[in-house]
Symmetry: C2
């Protein structure tokens, strides 16, 4: 390992989907660090076509969870981010797929920042599932130009979720396919 | 800042799109670390629908650059990753958009790992641009089930590329839209 920052690589490899949380609030400072990390992601043509909703209210978190079959951990999470695509920012029509790539990069940054703060988080997909999008849109009264991309429940982990080793040398092709 | 790993957050905020490289090869060890970081990304239903091609051959890098209008830095890069979607892995039809999200998360991990290794890298989009996809497919003789998602030139930075501060408080919505 010729790493100038091994601690950083640890975070990448230690990150896991955390679905079990202890009952403890997440500080606004930590939430701000995570959302800043999201905004530090790259985006196509530097459009930054994203917006972030941050929820900590128990009632709102529960409401959100009710319509999201794979985000029931919202009932126990201290907070959640809703990463959204802002279609009013996207400059070039017909290249619309790229906002999803940008939001995915921002989401990964948030997940890694959570890990570095000893928090746990999990990426639950919303887009392109129409029913999930409608639910989030309704609960949060989103304007039409805002597309909910994913919901990230976040909180202090119980410790039962552990990282997976997903290394698979067959997926690496050196020099050619 | 209540960070348990401030070095990690530095990497997130210091990462930039590096488009200018000095002529110096990238070690296979470092390339392996970066591709491992890519594979440590989350994916929908843990499908890991990705594959990674790693190029270091000057002729191949140049060939790839010839057909990619925004990836001319390949002429100077020490190496490149081609992140691909493997459609043979995707279990559920009709949810095909998610492989792009997964590949984007893997791409962001590679970019961050590059930054942590004092290397520089830049995400150049291939999918969903048909002409770019055809070019990469032809140069690399990709099978039909493999979709080239992006090309990441990587190398030692000249230092002229610097991070952007993209923080914008108007994009954060606390508690509600």
């Amino acid at each position: 390992m010729n790493s100038s920052n091994p601690g950083f690589l640890d975070i990448i490899f230690q990150r896991k989907s955390v679905r079990h949380f202890v009952e403890k609030p997440v500080s606004k400072d930590d939430l701000m660090i995570m959302v800043k990390a999201g905004m530090a992601a790259p985006s196509a043509r530097n459009e930054q076509p994203w917006a972030f909703i941050v929820l900590t209210d128990r009632y709102m978190l529960n409401q959100l969870g009710e319509g999201l079959p794979y985000a029931k951990m919202l009932y126990f999470a201290g907070a959640a981010f809703i990463v959204c695509g802002d279609t009013s920012i996207i400059i070039e029509e017909g290249k619309a797929g790229l906002w999803q790539q940008d939001c995915a990069a921002a989401t990964e940054n948030i997940l890694l920042a959570a890990e570095s703060l000893n928090l746990g988080a999990v990426w639950t997909a919303v887009h392109p599932y129409i029913k999930r999008e409608s639910h989030v849109r309704n609960i949060l009264h989103l304007p039409d130009h805002i597309i909910p991309f994913c919901v990230i429940p976040v909180g202090y982990p119980t410790g039962e979720d552990v990282p997976k080793d997903k290394f698979d040398s067959r997926k690496i092709h050196w020099g050619k396919w």
